[in-house]
């Protein structure tokens, strides 16, 4: 893990205050995952707070070229986060990368530029954060494959943290999927702009998942899981999808 991704501002004693930004997709589509992410953070000694008034990081618009729309939405979230303390932990590599890397660009020359820089520097991807903390003994039984979400992997360089976390779970058998690092085809608006291509990409990935014969497909990004889970559901596959945070929450004592 890069040194810059390490949380700072550790409290001298007691619990570490952290801000958990659940992301819009998490808030609206998978609130359970956000709750699970919070539970795990609490279990590793954090004092978790949700930012009041935060909405979305603006990525869908940013990636489609609608910077004004992206800035307008991101500003709301940025200002909400600027009022919080401690690391901003994000259970999505994609939103994390938007906030950590692209907000500086989006707010360049803007009145909120300084705030964007300050908040960006506090952003940490959830698994990278948790992997640096002490967790209680974890136990969970099953055969698990991990799918690397693209932006967490290639923009935030989070590769080992989720694998380290999964490997620490007693009873869990971690299987490397052949194309773990290849995009699943979600890609935000790409998934609805070009649904045929997006689903073809999912099928290519899911063929490798089937070959790995896993019970559960885990990832660190809700978007990938919504897409892959939706395709697995449509094709009647018995493979479950689970956010890493949910799996670890289930594995807590």
């Amino acid at each position: 893990m890069a040194a810059t991704d390490r949380p700072d501002g550790e409290a001298s004693a007691g619990r570490l205050p952290v801000t958990l930004f659940g992301t819009c997709l998490g808030d609206l589509m998978t609130p359970d995952t956000v709750a699970d992410a919070s539970r795990v953070l609490t279990a590793c000694g954090c004092d978790v707070a949700a930012p009041r008034g935060a909405t979305c990081c603006g990525q869908p618009a940013f990636n489609s070229g609608f910077d004004d729309a992206a800035r307008r939405v991101a500003r709301r979230t940025l200002r909400a986060l600027a009022r919080t303390a401690g690391p901003v932990v994000v259970p999505s590599g994609s939103c994390g990368a938007m906030m950590r890397l692209h907000w500086r660009e989006l707010f360049r020359g803007d009145r909120d530029e300084a705030a964007a820089r300050a908040v960006s520097a506090r952003v940490v991807e959830w698994s990278a954060f948790v992997a640096e903390r002490e967790l209680p003994p974890l136990a969970w039984s099953g055969r698990v494959g991990y799918h690397d979400a693209c932006h967490g992997l290639r923009e935030l360089r989070v590769r080992d943290a989720p694998r380290t976390l999964l490997a620490a779970v007693a009873g869990l058998e971690l299987v490397e999927i052949g194309s773990a690092e290849r995009c699943c085809g979600f890609g935000g608006s790409f998934a609805v702009r070009y649904p045929d291509v997006s689903v073809a990409m999912a099928d290519s990935k899911l063929a490798d998942v089937a070959a790995a014969a896993v019970d559960v497909l885990v990832s660190g990004d809700g978007g990938c899981l919504l897409h892959l889970g939706g395709r697995l559901s449509r094709t009647g596959s018995p493979v479950r999808t689970l956010h890493l945070a949910s799996l670890l929450a289930e594995a807590l004592p």
């Binding site: 909405t55 910077d67 729309a69 939405v73 290639r154 995009c183 790409f190 045929d196």
Partner: protein, 460 residues
């Protein structure tokens, strides 16, 4: 057949056509996975990052200083006895080549693979001028006979089965050649060898042009470029003006980057450095060498935010790792280049609404950034192109209104919460057991082949 296939079509439509080809969807990964693995293994034996930084800096330096290096190249090439021509656009490039062929009294022209000549549509132009042009790279030969287009920078016919090649070649042979690639290749060799021995002009591209020596550098595996520069009376090399390198020594960085990224080889079988026509005492070689430096839209990119794309050395590595390219192949991109490099170049060279749309033919997974041997930030350039597309008000009314309304609602925590609740509640009306199988409106595009799993309904 070349040219662009953008007008009146969409990426979605072109992709659907390609997705319906089951052979291609299996053939592309089968063809490129070996290259990717070999490439990775080769780079693992050295300091890949440092090498890429050197490659990027050499290319970026050359592209930023083209006036100096074009002048130096021209002087050095002319000192070698090469004639250098300057083509502002495709029409001019084609006219220059046709003029050289006419002056040489040529009839038969052999060509080795060149993406630039695909860009400028040289073959149809020469044919219209009355010349017979024969492509000599095996893949390009098949493409030419089939009146098709190459679908990959390095492997032009990775979309074709041996059965298709058998049909094409058997028709020429007048007998069934079977589908053993060995026999098919032998047939092509025999046909093309005869053409090489008779040809008046050999046309090649140029992987690089070296300013200090006035040389054109060619890498191939089959040996056709070498033959094309050896046997005909006239050699014409068409080189994109951005492909200049300052020094011969720069090849010690860029050749390993190009070859390992493009084919996964230590070195291609043939690496030729052509520095002019046959000299006194040399037993063979052309009487004339011409280099046509082609601008063709490149100078317009200089000085813009897209200048880095001119650092590209056309290795095809970004295509090989692109998850979109792997599904749809090169033709879906609608012009000469497929994959991430095509998604950037097509909007820049064909800036119509249809051309600009191609910037969206990427899930922005950034796999291309990681393999680019000269570290072009393809992912960022794609986002920049999408921004330009919005700036030019090309997205449809619906898309613009949707983002506008979305941004107004979600910049208010209250409206965000409200719209979320209303949204989820309406989805529940469509759902059975927490799963939406048939959405309405824009959601239909999600649920055509996927379910939408609603909150609280986790797949267990």
């Amino acid at each position: 057949m070349s040219g662009d296939h953008l007008t009146g079509t969409t990426f979605e439509g072109r992709a659907a056509e390609q997705l319906a080809k089951p052979f291609q969807r299996k053939a592309i990964p089968a063809a490129v996975d070996g290259t990717v693995a070999h490439s990775r293994a080769l780079f693992a034996t050295g300091d890949r990052e440092r090498l890429r930084e050197l490659g990027r800096d050499i290319r970026a330096h050359a592209v930023a200083n083209l006036p100096e290096y074009v002048a130096a190249f021209t002087d050095a090439a002319e000192a070698n006895g090469t004639r250098v021509h300057f083509a502002g656009d495709a029409t001019e490039a084609n006219a220059i080549v046709a003029g050289i062929c006419r002056d040489a009294g040529a009839q038969l022209i052999v060509k080795s693979k060149s993406m630039l000549t695909e860009e400028i549509e040289l073959n149809p132009a020469l044919e219209a001028a009355g010349f017979e042009v024969v492509e000599t790279d095996l893949g390009e030969y098949v493409v030419q006979i089939a009146n098709d287009r190459p679908s990959h920078i390095i492997g032009p016919i990775i979309h074709k089965t041996r059965g298709e090649v058998r049909e094409l070649f058997s028709a020429i042979a007048g007998r069934d050649l079977g589908d053993d690639p060995r026999a098919l290749t032998a047939f092509a060799r025999e046909q093309l060898r005869d053409v090489f021995l008779r040809a008046d002009v050999g046309i090649t591209g140029g992987n690089f042009a070296v300013a200090e020596s006035g040389s054109v550098v060619l890498v191939t595996n089959e040996g056709n470029a070498r033959l094309a520069t050896s046997l005909p009376r006239v050699h014409i090399a068409l080189v994109g003006v951005e492909r200049l390198l300052p020094r011969t020594a720069d090849l010690s960085v860029l050749i390993p980057l190009l070859v390992a990224s493009g084919t996964g080889q230590q070195l291609t079988t043939y690496l030729s450095i052509a520095s002019g026509p046959r000299r006194e005492g040399e037993p063979d070689g052309p009487d004339e060498m011409h280099v046509v430096l082609v601008d063709g839209g490149r100078s317009a990119i200089l000085g813009t935010g897209y200048q880095d794309i001119l650092n590209c050395i056309r290795c095809g590595a970004c295509q090989n790792v692109c998850p979109v390219y792997r599904q749809v192949g090169g033709h879906a991109y609608g012009w000469v280049y497929g994959g991430p490099i095509g998604a950037v170049l097509t909007p820049l060279f064909k800036p119509s609404a249809e051309g600009l749309e191609v910037a969206h033919a990427s899930s922005l997974c950034a796999a291309c950034d990681d393999v680019c041997p000269v570290k072009i930030p393809l992912h960022d350039l794609l986002v920049d192109l999408r921004r330009d597309r919005v700036g030019r008000r090309i997205p449809g009314r619906f898309e613009r209104l949707a983002y506008g309304a979305w941004s107004r609602a979600w910049s208010s925590p209250l409206l965000y919460r409200l719209s979320g609740r209303v949204g989820i509640a309406s989805l529940r009306l469509l759902a059975r057991g927490g799963v939406v199988r048939r959405g309405l409106g824009p959601l239909r595009r999600w649920t055509r082949d996927r379910d939408l799993l609603l909150p609280g309904r986790r797949r267990r």
